[in-house]
Symmetry: C2
Subunit: 153 residues, 2 copies
């Protein structure tokens, strides 16, 4: 589904939606990530905002990145932990996470079940930036962030 | 929450969110509706799109209306039935409903549990139009739509 008008009604079953492709998380192979899939649920040209569903398998994580566009996230299933800026937060089903512009962020699935979340984003948006080695080293100075990044919390 | 930046993380409990007001469905008393509440989850100025959560109690219904702006809906809990244009559809948890511009629509909760849904909408939008008596009479000519509107299906 891109700019074509979607059907009025698309049924859901087990976190898959009728007529919605199950896509790789991202094509960008510069970024480190693990076990994430993507489904674009709405891409309405009038709204200029997309709604995507990402699912992170147990032990998986999204890429650590920042960008000028914002993310507005609602957890749809499971639980996990996220980094937003320098904040590390436990997140659970239906929690809301707002990622401001130019703020480092990453999501990790913890526990036995997938972490699935909805993410609203501008259709027209800038390319994510990845941390430099220097920025990663700086993060490792903060034990709470280091534990998050190393998956050891 | 209006244009101020929301907290990074707001926890959910039983379909209520931290720091989010439980509001009446709408202030417009021209419209017929029953047992609906509203919570604005995201209103991000950069995106220009809002995410609202509506909850319709058993037997309740949203107003029958149309407008130039679109709605993109994901059912978060329960099940029900909706009218979009001249289509009447059974809807269940996680189903997607796209309401095109200038298309009549209404949601009804069926069964014992509330029908809760997320709705994406442009922050800047036109005021809903309500059906005239003539339009309502025309709908009643179609038995499937009449059963929906009368709550007798």
């Amino acid at each position: 589904m891109t700019s074509a008008e979607p059907p009025i009604h698309r049924r859901a079953k087990d976190y898959r939606w009728e007529g919605v492709a199950l896509e790789p998380y991202k094509e960008d192979d510069r970024a480190l990530f693990k076990s994430v899939t993507r489904q674009v649920l709405f891409a309405d040209p009038q709204q200029g905002t997309e709604l995507r569903y990402f699912e992170v398998a147990p032990g998986g994580f999204s890429s650590l990145e920042r960008h000028a566009h914002t993310h507005n996230v609602l957890i749809l299933r499971g639980h996990g932990v996220c980094l937003v800026g320098r904040e590390v937060r436990e997140i659970a089903t239906h929690d809301l996470i707002a990622v401001p512009a130019m703020t480092w962020h990453q999501f990790r699935a913890t526990g036995e079940a997938p972490l699935g979340f909805l993410c609203m984003v501008n259709a027209a948006r800038d390319k994510p930036q990845l941390p430099t080695q220097e920025e990663l080293a700086e993060f490792q100075q903060d034990s709470r962030i280091a534990d998050f990044l190393n998956g050891t919390r």
